[in-house]
């Protein structure tokens, strides 16, 4: 048996998903939204290296934050590539650094992926809370 790798780097591409939009429109930022949005698709090879299976939790960590989501294999992806629906989850990872790129990097995110025992990040934790006077 191959030794499990603890963490790998992936280039995440994000994209709109109609099912995420529908969940938000129908029920707001609730359970259905979380189920549809808190997913990352990885290549079967990377899933194997991390020794994880469909539905296992992974922690994604990028320059501006981290989230825990469910992993799923997608045979269309190459090693080192990932795909994620555009949502509050992916936005937590995205950064805006105009010195590097003129737009917020919402659609292409460098992130590390590591298996975790933690539960999926609740949507509430992804909302910007402000001290309301």
């Amino acid at each position: 048996m191959e030794q499990a790798v603890h963490a790998i780097d992936v280039n995440l591409v994000t994209c709109e998903s109609i099912y995420v939009s529908l969940a938000a429109l129908r029920e707001g930022l609730g359970q259905a939204y979380r189920d549809r949005a808190a997913v990352v698709h990885l290549s079967p090879a990377d899933m194997k290296r991390l020794q994880i299976r469909d539905g296992d939790r992974v922690e994604l960590t990028a320059a501006s934050g981290s989230v825990v989501v469910a992993a799923e294999a997608d045979g269309d992806l190459e090693e080192g590539a990932g795909r994620m629906p555009l949502s509050l989850y992916s936005n937590r990872l995205a950064e805006y650094r105009p010195s590097r790129w003129p737009l917020p990097a919402l659609r292409l995110i460098q992130s590390t992926v590591s298996p975790t025992g933690k539960g999926v990040t609740p949507v509430e934790d992804l909302l910007v809370r402000r001290t309301v006077a």
Partner: protein
């Protein structure tokens, strides 16, 4: 029971063939709208999807909330108005007047999406065409960085590929080539022939290989150039994937359009998701000469420093009025956290991440369901919205003109 025709405001397609049957002022059957459109219409009748009128989390009446909004905006040294890309043209004009009166700045999501592209189109550097022309005349539909099945569900069936007026005699094949350029497999790529797959971030290199600006050859470029050259009328549907990959810069597209100008008619339609981003950009362009990020502090100025993103990043805005937009969901949390203790007033028809973060929330009527008005579709065509049922909420126009009056 009564039946009404409606224009759906669920996305930028603005489908105008929607039929809604209502009973006791509630919709009981929605015909022709896609799932997104139906959910959008139903959301306005679902009290749980509407925000409460609040000040600092405490429920109050709209009069009180408007007065508080007035106070916050009046006390602000750097007021900023943001959003409006889902508002009617008249609400947009009022917001521009308000920004002028406040001596503040005004911006929309266009500044970090289609703004520069729309500026190039308004400036005549990129040719446009209407969706009606697409159906009759185009022979190459090129979707680049766009996946309408996920963003504009009926774009293909109502406005482009499947809506083609001419079909071949054997049945259903439209006389048109559907091509997509994407970084991954999508619902659209599975129906495109060919579906051109590029690497993430490679878009600029592909275009520059086509225009001959780049030395290196990119595999996809040659086939694509060939397809465009052979076509008579190519419509390029620009998606957010392309805009982000180009860093918002339409330059490469302008050069590509110029290159083919001699042989092929090439037109651009931005795949705008918001119902009236086009209208707001045009209005601002008429008023201030720029499509977004305009400041009225000393006269009229435009530029990056007036953009929402920059002002939030630099923490220079101390009061933000958000109108019908949800920047707290659309932008990285790491940016929005910079708003710190700036005051936020949010006018919104639906409960969103932004209404949850705002100091003052004023629920408004949903355009296209609870009030009418005019908007400009993604192809620049003006569309008149119908009203289904007048709800309990004031329109954005009403709130904005009240603010204008009392400030």
């Amino acid at each position: 029971m009564r039946s009404r025709s409606l224009v759906c405001t669920g996305c930028g397609c603005l489908c105008d063939d929607i039929q809604v049957q209502t009973n006791d002022s509630r919709p009981i059957l929605i015909e022709n709208a896609c799932a997104k459109g139906a959910a959008h219409i139903q959301a306005s009748f679902n009290p749980e999807r509407r925000p409460h009128c609040t000040i600092g989390g405490r429920q109050c009446g709209p009069g009180e909330a408007v007065a508080e909004a007035r106070r916050l905006l009046g006390n602000s040294r750097n007021p900023l108005i943001f959003g409006l890309d889902s508002s009617t043209l008249s609400a947009q004009s009022l917001a521009i007047a308000l920004a002028r009166k406040l001596g503040g700045s005004i911006d929309s999501a266009a500044s970090f999406s289609y703004g520069p592209l729309l500026a190039a189109m308004l400036g005549g550097d990129l040719p446009a065409c209407s969706l009606a022309e697409v159906k009759d005349r185009a022979d190459l539909l090129l979707y680049w960085g766009a996946d309408p099945p996920n963003t504009h569900p009926r774009h293909l069936s109502l406005h482009s590929y499947y809506a083609y007026s001419e079909y071949n005699p054997a049945g259903w094949y439209p006389r048109v080539t559907l091509v997509c350029v994407e970084v991954r497999r999508t619902e659209l790529s599975s129906m495109s022939k060919p579906a051109i797959r590029i690497k993430p971030g490679e878009d600029r290199a592909v275009i520059e290989a086509i225009t001959g600006e780049a030395q290196s050859q990119v595999g996809a470029a040659q086939g694509l150039a060939e397809l465009i050259r052979k076509s008579h009328f190519c419509v390029l549907f620009c998606g957010l994937g392309l805009m982000h990959s180009l860093g918002g810069d339409p330059g490469p597209l302008v050069r590509m359009a110029r290159l083919f100008a001699g042989s092929t008619r090439m037109a651009v339609i931005p795949m705008i998701s918001e119902v009236n981003m086009m209208g707001f950009c045009r209005l601002l362009h008429q008023t201030a000469g720029q499509v977004s990020s305009v400041g009225f502090k000393d006269g009229t100025a435009a530029g990056r420093e007036h953009s929402f993103l920059e002002q939030v990043r630099r923490r220079s805005a101390d009061c933000v009025l958000i109108v019908g937009s949800d920047p707290f969901a659309a932008l990285p949390q790491s940016v929005m956290e910079n708003l710190g203790d700036a005051k936020i007033v949010c006018l919104s028809p639906l409960a969103t991440a932004s209404t949850m973060a705002a100091d003052v929330v004023i629920p408004t009527a949903l355009p296209g369901v609870e009030c009418g008005g005019s908007v400009l579709r993604m192809d620049g065509v003006e569309v008149a919205l119908a009203e289904l049922e007048k709800g309990a909420y004031p329109t954005e126009e009403a709130v904005l003109s009240r603010l204008l009056e009392i400030l």
